[in-house]
């Protein structure tokens, strides 16, 4: 239990005492700079941020890494496998040439496939997050500000989207969708598979952001600065995107940073279930799916992709939490 009125009084007394900038003699700090300063002081944010930057760099620079490493993701090293298809050597064939070993069966290099897997995962996850956030923000801000019938209709769509079972939908729709454009024997192009996944995520993922944004806007709508803009004759566009949007960046950013890891795992899950990306595209889900058969004979094959996806998702989540704390220092602690 918190002593709300008590703490409130004391804090108000300490904090309400703003004084003119002229007396302070400090350089004026924008809200963004304040967040950046708080973020820099947070060790969790620092570590998870560095991990994220490294992983993103690896994804972006995948072709370069591939060239320096001297191996391509589809290259097969059949001569390094034994007669049963298991990699020679220890720990799944880890060596100076193949840092994380080789895949059993096809003999492809795990390290470079993982680098490309990160690239695929992040591309899909970021793409889906951008699309869902955009849809969610636009719908949420319109519903929240206009209210009434518009709000009711958008709310109804949100409920319908929430009521549909995502996994069943994905399992049923993704293959049908592919068949609509390509024959059962055609190779499905990568861009098509990626787009399909993003569309499927987008169809379901916008609801959370839309609700979040709507709630924020409803509470801001009655604030006097919004009325001031209305009293000056501001139009709808100005109200939504000049007055309201800048004030809800914080929750949107947090929602975005927490959506990305959920799409990473979502893509992995769908690929694992066989409805995600085609075999030729390196992806975490595929790798883990294939590795399950070798759980006992070649644990390293499961270990490396598993630990990387874990690190990626954890880093994103921790960073999202740290961002939330930095944006709203009063919410926690």
């Amino acid at each position: 239990m918190s002593l709300s009125p008590v703490e409130g009084v004391a804090l108000a007394e300490i904090e309400s005492t703003g004084e003119g900038p002229e007396q302070k003699g400090l350089v004026g700090r924008s809200p963004g700079q304040l967040v950046w300063n708080r973020l820099r002081r947070d060790r969790t944010a620092l570590v998870s941020g560095i991990v994220l930057v490294l992983l993103i760099l690896a994804a972006v620079a995948a072709p370069l890494i591939s060239r320096l490493y001297g191996t391509s993701p589809s290259q097969q090293f059949g001569d390094l496998l034994d007669a049963t298809g298991m990699p020679l050597g220890y720990v799944g064939g880890v060596s100076g040439d193949h840092w994380f070993g080789l895949e059993p069966g096809l003999g492809r290099d795990i390290f470079i496939r993982m680098i490309y897997g990160i690239r695929t995962s992040l591309l899909i996850a970021l793409g889906a997050a951008v699309v869902t956030t955009t849809i969610g923000v636009v719908l949420g801000i319109i519903a929240g500000y206009l209210g009434g019938v518009v709000d009711a209709v958008i709310g109804w769509f949100t409920d319908v989207a929430l009521a549909m079972p995502f996994l069943v939908f994905a399992l049923a729709v993704v293959p049908t969708f592919s068949l609509r454009f390509y024959g059962p024997r055609d190779a499905i192009p990568t861009w098509f598979a990626v787009t399909t996944l993003i569309v499927v995520f987008a169809a379901f993922g916008w609801t959370g952001t839309a609700r979040l944004v709507r709630g924020q806007v409803v509470s801001l709508r009655e604030r006097e600065f919004v009325e001031a803009a209305r009293a000056s004759g501001a139009g709808l566009w100005h109200m939504l995107f000049r007055q309201l949007l800048p004030n809800i960046w914080a929750p949107i950013l947090v929602a975005f940073s927490l959506a990305v890891p959920s799409y990473v795992t979502g893509e992995a899950a769908l690929s694992f279930l066989g409805v995600g990306l085609p075999e030729s595209v390196p992806s975490f889900g595929r790798m883990i799916y294939r590795s399950i058969d070798y759980l006992q004979t070649d644990p390293a094959y499961v270990f490396f992709p598993g630990i990387t996806i874990f690190a990626l998702v954890l880093a994103f989540n921790l960073f999202g939490d740290a961002l939330r704390d930095a944006l709203d220092p009063k919410s926690s602690r």
Binding site: G18, R29, P31, E227, G235, N247
Partner: protein, 341 residues
């Protein structure tokens, strides 16, 4: 006699109360107001919470739509004007808000806040927007170099000045000021009142000054309208209202204000109870449930807002008070003893 700048007739606002889907009556927030504001004049709109003064202010600047009645500004009926038709009017009619913290967009710089009315109306003043904004900041006593700062770097009084600068950006003829000083520290209140007074004099602005504090209103307004439960109970020139109040409610309100000039408990008029709910206001005179003079007639017949002495002071009371309150010293509630029991 100059033509009134603002002419309000029968202004009414009812907020429907729903019980699920069924309408369950209406909150009669504002119920038939008539008043005028002449150019360069300040009208004080005074009353306790729930009397409808804030709703009235919001209707005047068209943030709320009136249920019925008319608002005429500068000779044009703006009661139902649409946004495009309102556009030229917006420039003449602005509002200052109560809460200096909520009324400024925390993510915008001061420059952007003050420039907003210019931008949304597509006005490019000579010398550019920035120059105009800096002039405005200087006009309200802020350092023009603070153009690029954010609201959180300013104190309450300074923020209120920013809000005033924004309201002045379009060079309005009339400003609705909704409790502009009540959220400020005592020592800052006087600064802002003086600023508004100077602006009023220098720019020949008309004000509708909404406040609950009669002492503040006295220092700022030429005329005063006292509201109770959505109606004007008394309206008149400042000196009439403060020295010769005729409505019992005005008297009670004046005597309830703790004034520094009197030490110890002065003879206050003790009003019993609270303001009744506007959902179901009393019949007849709405003040009768708390009035010490109420008689049967007050419950059945609503008193009209009329003049008692042929002058400009209008009172809505069947049994108006007479007598003068001294403005020089001593407790206000001179009639308190005879009234309290």
């Amino acid at each position: 006699m100059t033509e009134p700048l603002l002419k309000v007739r029968g202004l009414t606002k009812h907020f429907p109360v729903r019980d699920g889907f069924r309408a369950r009556g209406a909150v009669r927030a504002v119920d038939g107001l008539d008043f005028d504001v002449r150019p360069g004049e300040t009208l004080g709109l005074v009353g306790e919470s729930g009397c409808g003064k804030t709703t009235t202010g919001r209707m005047l600047v068209r943030l709320l739509d009136a249920t019925s009645g008319s608002i005429e500004f500068d000779g044009r009926d703006i009661t139902h004007a649409r946004r495009a038709q309102l556009r030229p009017l917006r420039q003449d009619l602005q509002i200052i808000f109560q809460d200096p913290y909520a009324s400024l967009n925390p993510r915008h710089t001061v420059g952007r806040i003050v420039a907003m009315p210019l931008q949304v109306n597509g006005i490019n003043p000579p010398g550019g927007i920035k120059k105009r904004v800096q002039e405005l900041l200087e006009l309200v006593g802020l350092n023009p170099e603070h153009y690029n700062r954010y609201p959180h770097e300013f104190s309450g009084g300074q923020r209120q000045r920013i809000g005033i600068a924004r309201a002045l950006a379009l060079r309005p003829k009339l400003i609705v000021a909704d409790e502009p000083v009540s959220a400020l520290d005592v020592s800052i209140q006087a600064q802002v009142i003086n600023l508004l007074r100077d602006l009023q004099r220098d720019l020949d602005l008309a004000f509708v000054f909404i406040a609950h504090d009669l002492a503040v209103v006295r220092h700022f307004c030429h005329r005063v309208a006292v509201m109770y439960l959505g109606k004007i109970v008394e309206i008149g020139d400042r000196d009439d209202i403060y020295q010769r109040p005729q409505h019992p409610y005005t008297r009670a309100l004046l005597s309830a204000i703790p004034d520094v000039t009197t030490l110890g408990p002065a003879g206050r008029i003790r009003l019993a109870g609270d303001v009744p709910t506007p959902l179901n206001p009393p019949s007849g005179c709405r003040f009768r449930t708390r009035c010490w003079k109420a008689q049967d007639r007050c419950a059945t017949e609503e008193p009209p807002l009329i003049t008692r002495d042929g002058g400009g002071q209008l009172t809505a009371c069947h049994f108006p008070e007479t007598g003068t309150i001294s403005q020089d010293s001593g407790p206000v509630g001179a009639t308190a003893e005879e009234v309290s029991k």
